[in-house]
């Protein structure tokens, strides 16, 4: 069940996605962007620890596992970004006093990893059948020394870039849900990158749609 989307006018690397590839979790997905690859698993809604219980909504926990070693401060900060993005799109009030756990395992990092985490998370949440108000996708833009904007950069391109931005875009109005930046840039460059990301998000949402459609057309 591997699907592939070719690159169009905003150049994204080859995308691939497979849902329900793990049997134990309630929802799972793998997401591949070029050589960057992530597996996501969702558990829940399940019973919640008393200390983490929230009386009017579900508690979402996100765990990011790096390829080797223990998660560090950087993973913790990315966990926060992914968690708050998911919290904004999930209808958590439908499952009060319960827990949702999202585990993201990095398989290979070749740039745009935060974007790939977001995409994998969204596909896994969809696969778990959790009610959401909108979908979201992650796009990374790099600005290189010649002030060109590269979408979905590889690790080498990231290293050479002077600024790096990752955005989460919602599917309803294509507004910015999350932003995480590195390096310094002008206001104009930020706006350009947001515009490019919004454009790229159309392609990604189309890819979401195609891959889900293909999956269910086979199943039914």
């Amino acid at each position: 069940m591997m699907e592939v989307c070719g690159s169009t006018n905003v150049s994204l690397r080859e995308f691939g996605c497979e849902q329900t590839l793990l049997s134990r979790p309630d929802g799972s997905a793998s997401f591949v962007q070029g050589d960057t690859s992530v597996i996501a698993a969702v558990y829940g809604p399940a019973e919640v620890k008393v200390s983490k219980e929230i009386y009017d909504r579900a508690t979402l926990e996100v765990l990011i596992q790096p390829k080797v070693g223990l998660p560090s401060v950087r993973e913790r900060s990315q966990e926060q970004c992914v968690r708050e993005t998911c919290e904004a799109s999930l209808l958590l009030t439908l499952h009060p006093r319960s827990s949702l756990t999202l585990v993201l395992q990095l398989i290979h990092d070749d740039g745009s990893r935060l974007a790939c985490f977001l995409n994998a998370a969204c596909m896994a949440l969809m696969d778990a059948g959790l009610p959401m108000s909108c979908l979201f996708c992650g796009v990374t833009c790099a600005i290189n020394a010649d002030s060109e904007i590269i979408t979905d950069p590889t690790a080498a391109q990231e290293k050479e870039s002077r600024a790096l931005m990752t955005f989460a875009i919602d599917s309803k109005e294509q507004r910015v849900m999350m932003s995480y930046t590195k390096g310094s840039f002008s206001v104009h460059e930020l706006q350009q990158c947001i515009a490019v990301s919004q454009k790229a998000s159309e392609n990604i949402f189309q890819f979401y749609r195609d891959s889900v459609r293909r999956r269910y057309s086979k199943n039914l």
Binding site: L70, P71, S72, V73, R76
Partner: protein
């Protein structure tokens, strides 16, 4: 001084396997304080005559203190104390429900104390992880405060005392006790009395009251007898001692004289603390106007 340092790749004597801390931004594996490589050595403290900061030796000459209550908006009660360069802050939270339900006591509340040093508070940078020294001090602080707090009035609840040392310039435990009791009072926790702390450093036949960091850690080689430090926690209006901690070696007479000196030091502190407290109370509930 390790003279091989710039040639050697690492510091061999520090290369023990440390558990990696994944919850903080990490720096290089090892680093050393520049004070280890001083080209000229620091002047030795005078062992007789006036003290380095101009105070009198062998007399109850405590550093002037600055105290203030209620600085932290989030805490139930808080206090800040500054004695010379020693700067401490204490916050009190509670009484609130016991965190660990299995430890709930139906008759009596629980006092928890946590004392830690900011990494930049000492001459040499401290580690992030609470060391055994901090734990010892927390325990001594707990023992000094507990007798003064009416814990039976707070069944099934806990009262948390957190002390942060922002700058350590000696006599930390003594000032922590004073500061914590002030914060407890500011939080409106019922107490039998305030607890005041004072410490001395005995050096042979002479002693210094409220020692600075240098005085605490210096050791004169003149005599090996009667070398030690003493910290007393004292309830001034009940005239009782709630905590006593001494290290080193002192004979009986010196020790009793030392305790007496500490008590005298506490009485010197008492009016300042009382004043700070009345000021805080007045601010919280202004006296009714005469009209």
């Amino acid at each position: 001084m390790p003279d091989c340092f710039p040639h050697a790749v690492t510091f061999p004597f520090l290369c023990t396997t440390m558990p990696t801390d994944t919850k903080r931004v990490r720096g290089p594996e090892v680093s050393q304080s520049p004070t280890l490589f001083l080209c000229k050595h620091v002047a030795v403290l005078p062992s007789h005559g006036r003290r380095a900061d101009g105070r009198q030796r062998d007399q109850v000459d405590v550093r002037p203190v600055f105290v203030r209550c209620g600085l932290v908006s989030q805490a139930k009660g808080s206090a800040y104390i500054e004695a010379g360069n020693t700067k401490l802050m204490c916050c009190v939270y509670g009484p609130r429900e016991m965190e660990r339900k299995d430890e709930t006591d139906m008759k009596c509340g629980k006092l928890t104390t946590d004392m830690r040093f900011a990494p930049f508070s000492c001459l040499e940078r401290g580690s992030w992880i609470q060391g055994s020294q901090d734990k010892d001090l927390s325990l001594m602080l707990h023992e000094s405060l507990q007798p003064a707090v009416c814990l039976h009035k707070y069944p099934r609840s806990q009262i948390e005392v957190n002390v942060m040392v922002l700058e350590n310039s000696g006599s930390v435990l003594a000032h922590a006790v004073t500061c914590a009791s002030l914060a407890l009072a500011d939080a409106g926790i019922e107490m039998y009395d305030l607890v005041l702390g004072c410490s001395i450093r005995q050096n042979g036949a002479s002693y210094v009251v409220d020692p600075s960091y240098m005085e605490e850690n210096s050791c004169s080689s003149v005599s090996s007898e009667n070398q030690g430090g003493l910290t007393v926690a004292f309830l001034p209006s009940l005239n009782q001692i709630s905590g006593l901690q001494s290290d080193g070696e002192m004979n009986e007479e010196t020790l009793t004289a030392g305790v007496r000196t500490c008590i005298e030091g506490c009485y010197k502190l008492y009016p300042v603390i009382q004043q700070a407290l009345t000021k805080a109370v007045r601010r919280a509930a202004p006296p009714p106007s005469e009209s």
